[in-house]
């Protein structure tokens, strides 16, 4: 039997917070064979990043590590600083989350890739400048970047390119292990697929062991042979990827898996992972007249050079009573601008927004009246709530602006409708005393307090943990079924559309390239772009099947 590349034995990490020792990792055992790939899944706060950073002892000084971290037969926890510095990057390197911040903004990327080469010369004697340049060029070529880009600064590169630079840097000293901490989290789905593909190809080619940390089980399943699921500092499940994905044993694994449904899987259609049972579909469901409509809407901005860029380039879209429409697209596709224009927060260059057939006024009392009908739910509930306002004040803000009678009853009803029950329990709490999911419910309650007929939700679950995601989606679906509330849900996540939407509109570079029912668009895409979006899904799509209505 070969010696394992990395072995964690009863690893415990605690952080000193004030006087207290807060455990972050509790008794973790993991083994990785040379050239093996292991995914570590978990929500924020599960301890997965702490595990990853402990391997090279990169934790802040408040952390205390006990247990053993055996890297290539040597215990990292027992190393002296000099030895540890020699091992860092030469034996094991790291691809950090969000390469935007992990690269030094004022140094050329070529220099940053070359830095570890000079520090840990592969043959033991230092390299000449020409050798370093040649190696940097070789590394850039390996990650599909032109070698000429070595002279670029990080801000001149796109997010995907920066992550490629991080990978090139990680490969520089031909380490035996690469630790990738959420390497694709901030990236669009298509770029994510490319980066994942590149990373798995390179580690396989060069026989490098890989530990990948992610909150997204499908990403890990696409890249790693084995997956370990962490919850509250412990590993609750470990096994081959297919097994963990296919038949999760621990309840938390099931929640994680359900958060990223397979598009085309009839089990997850109209069934977000929620603990409350959903009401049945109303028997007489008439998708009514269009409530909110965009007609040939155009919005443009000037970029820094003064050139006009069409963020929204001629969009027609309707949302009717009692339906959920998902607006799908990558970041930069113009979907958020479209949403802001629909809400009257952004003036269109041309085209009209209609509500119930009438054009929406651009200001004054008419716009204010419109705002009672169409409401907004934002992506990140933490920043969507004023940290100094209580739940009551946040929800009452709308009713006060519109001078609604009987404010307390209105707020009470809205909180209950958003499933914050009993309302009294939450009324005088501050946002930081609530969980992420509860905060998003407060934002939704704030919108519901005005009793709107349409809700525009901009990435309503993108910043929430997997287990909460299903609950919020369930709430939106429930509101539709119970109140007939229409919703336009803006998302980059096709699984979300599959979970709750009736219709999908796909946006690409300011235009709607494809619109139709969820089944039409996601199972039988016509447009190239929709196809490439679906192809980039890490979990793939289920075979086309007849879908029960």
């Amino acid at each position: 039997m070969t010696t394992p590349l990395l072995q964690l034995k009863d690893l415990n990490v605690t952080y000193a917070v004030g006087e207290q020792e807060v455990p972050a990792v509790r008794g973790v055992d993991l083994t990785l064979d040379p050239g093996g790939t292991l995914g570590v899944a978990g929500e924020s706060g599960s301890g997965k990043s702490t595990v990853a950073m402990s391997v090279l002892r990169l934790l802040p000084s408040t952390a205390t590590i006990t247990g053993e971290i055996v890297l290539d037969g040597e215990d990292v926890t027992a190393m002296k600083w000099g030895r540890l510095r020699a091992v860092r990057w030469a034996e094991a390197s790291v691809v950090f989350q969000g390469a935007m911040h992990a690269l030094n903004p004022v140094r050329k990327i070529g220099d940053q890739i070359a830095e570890p080469l000079r520090l840990h010369p592969p043959s033991g004697k230092s390299l000449t400048d020409a050798e370093v340049d040649a190696r940097v060029a070789e590394l850039l070529t390996q990650v599909d970047l032109p070698p000429g880009r070595a002279g670029a600064y990080p801000h001149e590169l796109s997010g995907g390119q920066k992550q490629r630079v991080m990978i090139a840097m990680a490969l520089a000293c031909s380490p035996r292990l690469i630790i990738a901490d959420e390497p694709t989290t901030a990236l669009d789905v298509i770029v994510q697929a490319q980066v994942l593909d590149l990373l798995s190809r390179l580690v396989a080619e060069q026989d490098i062991g890989l530990i990948m940390i992610s909150h997204d089980l499908s990403v890990l399943a696409a890249t790693c042979k084995r997956i370990a699921v962490m919850y509250d500092g412990q590993i609750v499940e470990e096994g081959p990827s297919a097994e963990v994905m296919g038949s999760p044993k621990h309840e938390h694994t099931r929640a994680l898996a359900a958060a990223f449904p397979t598009v085309g899987d009839p089990v997850s259609r109209f069934a977000p992972a929620t603990s409350n049972p959903l009401p049945p579909e109303p028997s007489e469901r008439v998708v009514g007249e269009p409530l909110l409509a965009a007609e040939n809407l155009r919005v443009s901005f000037r970029d820094r050079t003064g050139k006009r860029i069409d963020a929204v380039a001629g969009v027609d879209l309707t949302v009717s009573r009692d339906e959920i429409v998902a607006l799908v697209g990558q970041s930069g596709s113009g979907k958020t601008t479209l949403a802001r224009t629909l809400l009257g927060l952004q003036k269109p260059d041309s085209g009209v927004v209609r509500y119930a057939g009438n054009p929406v006024p651009s200001g004054g009392a008419g716009l204010k009246a419109y705002r009672r009908q169409v409401q907004l739910v934002l992506q990140d509930p933490t920043s969507a709530l004023n940290p100094a306002h209580t739940v009551y004040e946040a929800v009452a803000e709308g009713p006060r602006i519109h001078k609604l009678a009987d404010e307390r009853a209105v707020v009470h009803r809205a909180l209950e409708a958003a499933e914050l029950r009993p309302a009294e329990k939450y009324a005088d709490r501050l946002p930081h005393q609530l969980s992420g999911g509860q905060r998003q419910r407060v934002v939704i309650a704030g919108a519901l307090a005005l009793e709107p007929s349409v809700v525009v939700a901009d990435e309503p679950v993108a910043s929430l943990d997997a287990s909460v995601r299903g609950e919020i989606l369930g709430l939106l679906l429930r509101l539709r079924r119970e109140l007939g509330l229409a919703a336009l849900v803006i998302t980059h996540d096709l699984g979300l559309a599959w979970n709750i939407a009736d219709r999908v509109a796909v946006m690409y570079r300011g235009e709607l390239v494809e619109t139709g029912t969820v089944e039409q668009v996601l199972l039988d895409p016509r447009h190239e772009y929709t196809k490439s979006l679906l192809a980039a899904l890490p979990g793939g799509t289920a075979q086309r099947r007849t879908v029960p209505n």
């Binding site: 090279l56 990169l58 540890l84 510095r85 020699a86 091992v87 860092r88 990057w89 030469a90 390197s93 790291v94 950090f96 969000g98 911040h101 992990a102 690269l103 030094n104 903004p105 004022v106 140094r107 050329k108 830095e115 570890p116 520090l119 840990h120 599909d144 970047l145 032109p146 000429g148 670029a152 600064y153 801000h155 001149e156 796109s158 995907g160 390119q161 298509i190 770029v191 490319q194 820094r304 050079t305 490439s532």
Partner: protein
Amino acid sequence: MTAPEQAAVLVDPDERRGGTGTARFVLKKILEAVISVVLVVVLFFFLFRMLPGDPVAAMTRDRVTSPQQIAELREKMGVDKPVFVQFGQYFWNLLHGDLGESRLLNNGRPVADMIGERLWPTILLVGSATILAVVIGLWLGIRAAWRRDSLFDRTQTGIALTLWSVPQFWLGLMLLVVTNGLFPSRGMHSPDAAPDVLSQTLDVLHHLVLPCVTLLAVFYAQYMLIMRSSLLGEMNADYLTTARAKGLREDLVRRRHAVPNALLPTTTLVFMQFGMVVSGAVTVEAVFSWPGLGQLTYDALHGPDLPVLQGVFTVLASAVVLMNLLAELLYRVLDPRVRTS
């Protein structure tokens, strides 16, 4: 790779933006600075010629003046003409290097000449103090930030904060009292210094010590505090973790990664604080009778000689505007993020 990513890889950002960005930026900044200087001229014209109502009355305030002198002044200054004519005349003269004439000091010498001969002592004083303050301030700031909450940090921050609370002229007075004749207390030259270059230089340096120390004491403290907080802001940056993960020694992490990032905003701030240095120079020169623009201001205030004040302040404020322009251009050169965007 598919379309968007590939396109982004292949298009060079420099090509996309074209090479005209920097030239346009420089021109724009120079234009802004010129506008600012014109505004400075207008502002001080308004302050010294319009605000006092009758400028002649204000000029002769607190002193005995004969009616004949007043009538002469009126005609000379053209106060009976409309405002814009007066300003036009003033501005036209200014463009020709004529800042008017001193009324009450030195019997009608051209203000421009007076400023010309006082300029170099001020540049010597301000220049030497700024350079020393920057070097000392940045060095202490880096050390203090890196050992946050250490004895060194707390002592240095405490000293800096105390110095920040000290009025500069009082520090000068105290130095005079404390050194008690060790250094010359007035002026820039001793009459008895030997005429050779070395002796003259040493003599000037001897005179320079006290004013320079007074000026730099307060400004080094400020630069130190700026550098310290700027570096503290970088301390938790993710790229430092990357540098540590690469196996870099802690001092190299600091030197190669943290300090260059923190240095950028500090450098610009140092330049932008130039106005404060100039203000400081005015009071310090008054204390030590250093024959520069500050001393001239002090004398003119006691006149009061408004044309001289107007001229000196216009020159000082314009110098500050120009230093600010330099700061903005320098930032452009130093920071790659600004350079290419």
